[in-house]
């Protein structure tokens, strides 16, 4: 299973997820420290879930980091996170 597929499986098993985007940005970091020749080292995740309601930004990210602790300790060098509730996601995506 690819790293991205593992990330998706773990998050979907643990959280009620409305929307999950996983972008592999490893190519932007090729040759940098932590980059692996096979890629799948740098990811950007957008997670929309009401499980984040009432939680601070730090609490939300810790929740995700904890679920992906194994990946962060091995293959994944960087994980950019955007964590939103459904309401926040509507606001973010609606034209202002």
């Amino acid at each position: 299973m690819s790293v991205a597929a593992r990330i998706r499986a773990k998050l979907e098993a643990a959280l009620p997820i409305e929307r999950l985007e996983i972008v592999d940005e490893s190519h932007l970091h090729a040759g940098h420290a932590g980059a692996r020749p096979e890629g799948e080292s740098h990811f950007r995740l957008t997670i929309v879930s009401d499980t984040f309601a009432g939680k601070s930004r730090v609490e939300r990210q810790r929740l995700v980091y904890d679920l992906l602790a194994e990946e962060l300790a091995s293959d994944v060098h960087a994980l950019a996170l955007s964590t939103r509730t459904r309401d926040e996601d509507e606001t973010t995506r609606s034209p202002s």
Partner: protein
């Protein structure tokens, strides 16, 4: 408390704004650290940058101390604010300036 934790505690107690980062504020060694430096500089906030690449024990120690697996990490008045994503989001929403002002830290947008 371990020796490294004591050392970290001293750093965040001694300076109002402390950024644990890769590289120095003048020469960041990682794009995520560079982004936070850019935000702080843009707001004219004085901060102390601590290069975790100079000290393997500190590099792991700060992750344990904050219970946060990535670097950079921003502390304001001894309080953990977050990493790159959080700093960027708070900057964009204006919350970062509010936080600094509420903690009595000088903000002078450049």
């Amino acid at each position: 408390m371990s020796e490294i934790a004591t050392q970290i505690k001293d750093e965040i107690d001694q300076s109002d704004v402390v950024l644990f980062m890769k590289g120095s504020p003048v020469m960041p060694q990682c794009g995520f650290s560079a982004m936070v430096v850019q935000v702080l500089s843009h707001l004219g906030i004085k901060f102390k940058g601590i290069d975790v690449l100079q000290d393997a024990e500190l590099r792991q120690g700060i992750k344990d101390f904050s219970n946060w697996p990535t670097i950079p990490q921003l502390y304001v008045k001894g309080e953990f604010v977050g990493g790159c994503d959080i700093v960027r989001e708070m900057f964009e929403s204006g919350e970062l300036m509010e936080l600094m002002s509420s903690r009595g830290i000088d903000v002078r947008p450049q």
